[in-house]
Symmetry: C2
Subunit: 368 residues, 2 copies
């Protein structure tokens, strides 16, 4: 199987090295802005890949929405399989891309887009074909998990840890997508779309990140045997989905509470098989590249066009049912409230100089 590779960053380099070890795969052409001196052909023009009849699969690792969307669409229209690690583009154009894959009888796979090296989306698709999935949730962002783990371990403030994460390459120069929870939210949308055969809109899902968190917040939790994690959760509620992304307090002794550093831990709940959890490296060149490679091998082995072939319907996000436990902070004081997710996030949205009440955390175990 011959591959056209788009991008040669950390994941692209890892994928190139892994693919070289597979007798069934050859990277024929690399799309790159500057010469890399590789054994394969290098080009700066995507048309060299799109028009090459020898290329069976396009592996998109450039990230961002444009021109990734145009490249992926063009590749699918040219009846080439597509593998991508790009959650932003798949999330934004989920229905269009899945439909294009089916129309053209080729595969679209994006296992590396959620969970790094964990076989999460592929396992989720597998369960979705034979059971009714009731909820998906997890620690889906390695950057925030690293920052929270270090804040907890070293009692150091958020800005210092963010800077360190940037220096170590765990966080981007513009960390907004990670620290405000948008990256986790996109992974949640992808997971929920697949789990519920649904089409969720990113913007419908309320989202609180970790950028307002203080050393005092960490200490408050520690005194109570709790630790902070940025958790994303979506669950079926009748004809709608309750979904949100929020810092979440887990007892330190739970598997979630023990998921430290840049690790991810993701779970699904299904009616017949119960709960299944998956954990491992949620980011990094090798793990992410390994899921990209696994997708290529699945395609070489005759994978279906997409993880699920069930029709995809728009699904409303509705957080107005069911009271949960939440932690708020107002003028430096902490308050626990029982209310629906809709009410809790509404309060968060209302933060202002005159009413600085802030939603801090979801407490899935309540106050112990």
């Amino acid at each position: 199987m011959q591959i056209g590779l788009l991008g040669y960053g950390t994941v692209g380099k890892g994928f190139y090295a892994l693919a070289a070890e597979q007798p069934s795969l050859t990277v024929k052409t690399l799309l790159t802005r500057r010469p890399r001196g590789l054994a394969c052909r290098e080009t700066g023009d995507f048309a060299d890949i799109a028009r090459d009849p020898d290329i069976d699969v396009v592996v998109e690792l450039i990230g961002g929405i444009h021109p990734a969307y145009e490249y992926i669409s063009a590749a699918l229209r040219a009846k080439k399989h597509v593998v991508t690690a790009n959650k932003a583009v798949v999330c934004a154009y989920y229905r269009e891309l899945v439909e294009l894959a089916f129309q053209n009888g080729v595969c679209l796979r994006c296992t590396a887009a959620a969970g790094g090296g964990i076989p999460w989306l592929s396992s989720l698709g597998r369960v979705a074909r034979m059971d009714r999935i009731t909820a998906v949730e997890g620690i889906l962002n390695g950057t925030t998990n690293y920052i929270l783990s270090e804040m907890t371990a070293r009692n150091a403030p958020y800005p210092e840890l963010l800077k360190q994460a940037q220096q170590l390459g765990y966080a981007e120069a513009d960390p907004t997508d990670d620290v405000e929870g948008y990256d986790a939210r996109r992974k949640l949308v992808l997971s929920a779309d697949l789990a519920f055969s649904a089409l969720l809109q990113e913007g419908d899902i309320p989202c609180v990140g970790i950028s307002r968190m203080t050393v005092a917040d960490i200490a408050w939790a520690r005194e109570r045997g709790l630790v902070w994690k940025l958790n994303a959760r979506a669950e079926r509620r009748g004809d709608a989905v309750s979904a949100f992304v929020c810092p979440t307090l887990f007892p330190a002794s739970t598997p979630e509470g023990q998921t430290n550093g840049s690790a991810n831990r993701i779970s699904l709940y299904a009616e017949r098989i119960g709960k299944q959890s998956f954990s491992g490296a949620g980011a990094g060149g090798w793990p992410t590249a390994s899921n990209v490679l696994a997708d290529c091998l699945s395609i070489a082995g005759g994978a279906a066009p997409f993880y699920s072939d069930r029709p995809v319907e728009p699904l409303a996000v509705d957080n107005r049912e069911g009271e949960r436990t939440w932690l708020f902070r107002s003028y430096g004081r902490y308050a626990i409230r029982q209310e629906t997710a809709a009410e809790a996030f509404e309060a968060y949205g209302a933060v202002s100089e005159s009413d600085p009440t802030s939603l801090l955390a979801y407490l899935p175990y309540g106050m112990l």
Copy 2:
């Protein structure tokens, strides 16, 4: 795809119901000793399935080694794919069955044979194709985990909990395979064979079960913040594998320590992608049947003959390198020793009236 189903116990019933929901699958014939009144054809003669050219896949759920081995071999020779949940037969005839599948160009899959409903062997095969796996380990037996969890929670003695597990259907009338660790050992052999492209002999792997455990042992651990789990572990050591099955003391706060009831938790360690862990229901009709169904769907989707196509070589078990921490009991007193696994299990084998020193546990975290 038309299926010949062998056996209609708990898993067989679950599979029959799940398959009925899949448009691509039809159970054409059931091999059963007594009439079940199902819509499919029922027969007491395996030849009716083996000789039926319409049947593409044989699903073996009768368990035991004979006649399961003869049925599976005959099906593969008749160029029918085989899916089985039977760890005993695959473990005993691993090389023969894998070779038969390749020779006849059909699939052999047994994902339900280890980890119940967890996509463990399929994930392991996926990683084995692209990374070097250095170790596999886990809580692989639901029956012993249930008994140990209940002994811990209720401070009740082993014989009482075994009886309860039998009444609840968690343990067989003859519980030997579960409680002596043989079931976990077979699952370890299957996992290690796949992970290391190896061929291990069950009998080469030292194995201690839970049948000698006392309420005092549970209490000793509890005072130290530790909990008992029956853990199976295999790791590469040069050209050999160090492997053993042994009650193991995990800190109560670790993910392993928190794996309770009949749940399983299994991990792999690979050079590039690091550690990945999988947890969920390790037994039960629906979870096990779901992995059997997933195997059928993989075959319908064009799966390869086996999880891995790497050559399988006999591999020696060698536990003589590397000191670890072990807990022994002698005349009711506990002693911690640092020694190799080979030495620890040798001491266990030497238990007698005159020297009742008994290996109790492996302490992977040492004494905290």
